[in-house]
């Protein structure tokens, strides 16, 4: 499934604030402005939205965009049922109707003609026209549109159209500062302080290799995965190899060299 729904989760998901982004998001919500989250893979964009949705008490509808995602996938389509056709709302239409937060993850992956349906929703009209049913949905005040994308993403030919980009309040994310990242690892995996500190140190070493040696660098998510594997009893090096080194590269030589970096940063 390409979408998941969380209906006002009982507990607020953990999120360690890096700057002032929570307040900014709240203001955007109050002012009924759509938000654009920019940042590298695995730096916590999705978690941030989940956190904010829970904090604001709004249901969250997430759509992971891909290059075959059509406008109909977002807005809705007719389905056949009992010899009859039934209109079925897409995630976007449902979010508008119910006043939810609609989160389009990696929006640049979607086709360009798809993102155009967001335009009337993203400006002060806040409307979603559904051509097939002839409806014009007016978004309630609680509805919010959030999109995310990764500007440094390797597929350089894909980018967000300026006309789309300029409709959003932009929130820039990056990998958290070492101290915050350490807290995140501890909170997410149950790792002890020592392990978390070492993982953060390893991450800072690996991040120096971005661009020149590695396409993408180690994300907070990968660190958490490694920490969870270690906490569950796997030896540190095995866990790092599986969760970090082999996740970063497919090239055997690079993997060997990365392993040396891990060994140097990590061995007992």
């Amino acid at each position: 499934m390409y979408r998941t729904e969380t209906h006002s989760a009982p507990a607020i998901p953990f999120y360690a604030e890096q700057g002032d982004e929570c307040r900014l998001f709240e203001h955007a919500f109050e002012q009924r402005l759509p938000a654009l989250l920019k940042g590298p893979t695995g730096c916590g964009k999705t978690r941030f939205v989940e956190h904010m949705a829970a904090r604001l008490g709004r249901p969250l509808i997430t759509v992971s965009c891909h290059d075959d995602l059509t406008a109909a996938d977002l807005v809705g389509r007719y389905l056949i049922g009992d010899g009859n056709t039934v209109w079925n709302d897409g995630p976007l239409a449902r979010a508008v109707r119910t006043g939810a937060i609609c989160y389009l993850d990696e929006v640049v992956e979607a086709r360009k003609d798809t993102t155009v349906v967001l335009h009337p929703l993203a400006d002060d009209r806040r409307q979603l026209p559904i051509e097939r049913t002839g409806e014009l949905l007016q978004a309630p005040p609680e509805f919010m549109l959030v999109v995310s994308y990764n500007p440094g993403y390797q597929n350089l030919l894909k980018n967000l159209k300026p006309s789309t980009r300029q409709r959003f309040v932009a929130l820039v994310f990056d990998y958290p500062a070492p101290e915050i990242e350490r807290r995140i690892i501890v909170a997410e995996s149950g790792a002890d302080e020592r392990l978390a500190t070492r993982l953060v140190k390893l991450a800072s070493a690996l991040r120096r290799l971005t661009d020149q040696d590695l396409e993408e660098t180690v994300s907070t998510r990968l660190l958490v995965v490694a920490a969870r594997l270690i906490v569950s009893g796997l030896p540190e090096l095995t866990a790092c190899r599986a969760a970090i080194v082999d996740a970063l590269t497919d090239d055997a030589d690079t993997a060997e060299a990365l392993n040396e970096v891990v060994l140097a940063a990590f061995e007992q």
Binding site: N155, L156, R198, Q212, E215, A264
Partner: protein, 642 residues
Amino acid sequence: MEEWVGARWHRFIWRAADVSFPKATVRLEDVQRAVQMLFRAGGGDPLVRVAPATAQKIGGPRNWLQKVAGQGERAALSTLDEQTLALPPSIAVFADTALNRDLYLWLAAQGACHVATSAGWLADNLSATQRALQRFPGLRARYARLVNAHLAQRPPAARLQGTARALEQAVQAALQASIADGGESAVSAPPLPSGGAQPAAVAPVWLWLQALAPDPNAANFIAESDDSTAARQPKDNESHVKQDNKRRRAQRTEDTTSKDGLVMFFRAESILSWSEFVRVNRTGDDEDNQDYSQVADDMEQLHLAHRKPGETLAARIKFDLDLPSASADDLPVGEGVPLPEWDEKSARLVPNRCRAQRLRHRPPPDDGAQAPSTDGAAAMAQRLKRTSRQVRRRFEALRAAPRWQHGLADGEELNLDAWVRHQVDRRDARQPHGESPPIFSRRVRSERSLATLMLADLSLSTDAYATPQARVIDLVRDSLFVFGNALDGVGDPFEMLGFSSVRRAVRIHELKRFSEPWNDAARERVAAIKPGFYTRMGAAIRYGVQRLDERPERQRLLLILSDGKPNDLDHYEGRHGLEDTRHAVFEARQAGLVPFCVTIDEQAHQYLPRLFGAQGFALVHRPDQLARALTQVYIRLTAAVR
């Protein structure tokens, strides 16, 4: 016979005196990648390359066997400067291969943390050791093993005398202190006897580096060369395939002779006496077949003399690049475009630093006397027929990649979604509906909007042989030809430009314009490219960006075919050239272009990732790989174009 005996004796005595462990040798190229990545991961400057070091004079006592064999005087020691981390080409210090390998890794980590201060060699190394151990706690156990193994090999201080003894004691104490307490606590450098802070005064400490201070004269030279007509690089017409990338110690020296040009001095320490300069004009060497890299290997330090301004014309013609006279030169087209250049020191773009002049190949005068060119367009077409057809077919296949188009009145398949919509519409009497409802889907060829600009490096370095059969320029020419044919087959608009430079005058050779068809004239121009001058790559890229900016296509590719590093006569070399090129690539990305470099330089992996990103370049080793490589590049770059 005497020679034979001599050779045998030399081999015998050399082996007998050798204290290293050849069976446990680890070579630098085997660990290069790990060393480089560890160095950068530890915080080392990404522009510093890792290169094999040359031998230099070392200190320490020698046993009589070594003295007989003439061994133990020189060894490749690790050094670090602004541009290079020079490590021994191979390490066989310990009997254990793993330990030798660890030594390489340790040197990389130590190099990353090394800061040259006025405290001296020993103190610098101690503090670097400490930082490295903190940054890479995983190296602690290995470092301790290395220190212990090395201490066991060091000459016992008790057997030495005087300053040597005190020095040896200091070094050993420092090494021991660095592993006490797991390397966690701070260690201060032990007091040194006066005048003994030089690494050459003791037996080599394999675990340490020597940081070379930047040449204080370098700045002056750059300032001078800006307006003088000095040429630092002799005409590069070597035809040997073997690349020599050893890092050599060099020092700029004032040329005190009244003779011309680029004069290299060398210190023939091992021949006459220890401090005498022997003036040898290397540019005018008699023997042509001499292996210069061997000569350079034997020298401790190369001295490069800078040509003084205002020297005779004869000297300049000899060593500067022979610029064609205006009548023989290619035809200039237009005024020339001023271009900025990135100054890394002040981190800003300096406007109007260079000027790009478009040139068009002037066909040789048809007086019948000249023999027809051996490799004209026709010959080239014949030679590359197969490759060209291959690539063209692959490109056409790409273009034909179909996609689904929905909502059509007729087509191959019924679109259920559209059909349902149609059924609903039909039930709704209020909505009009036609007889041919748009409920079909069809696979169609997609519309593309892609402009490609190819920039070919035509600098003199492309005259070197990439393979025993082909020069780099031949590969570039073939690439241009094959790619041109293929792009022409696909129907995408493209432009081809060659570039070279002489200082700030950037020569842009017009091979094929966007507006021109890919015809015989264009192919003839491609066939006629010849190497010359230097590589001011940043300016060429900026020019390419300007050209592509004028194109209406949605996707724009900037392909750079090059053989190597950016460099030019003035200060455009080394770090400055790399940083400028890097910034030009960054500007291209900002402009929404896709810069990509296809290179023939085997050493490219050392600096190209820094310029173009890990995924921004491809390496072509052999001409027969060309077809495959070019197609792959194209597929990768255009995969997202729909």
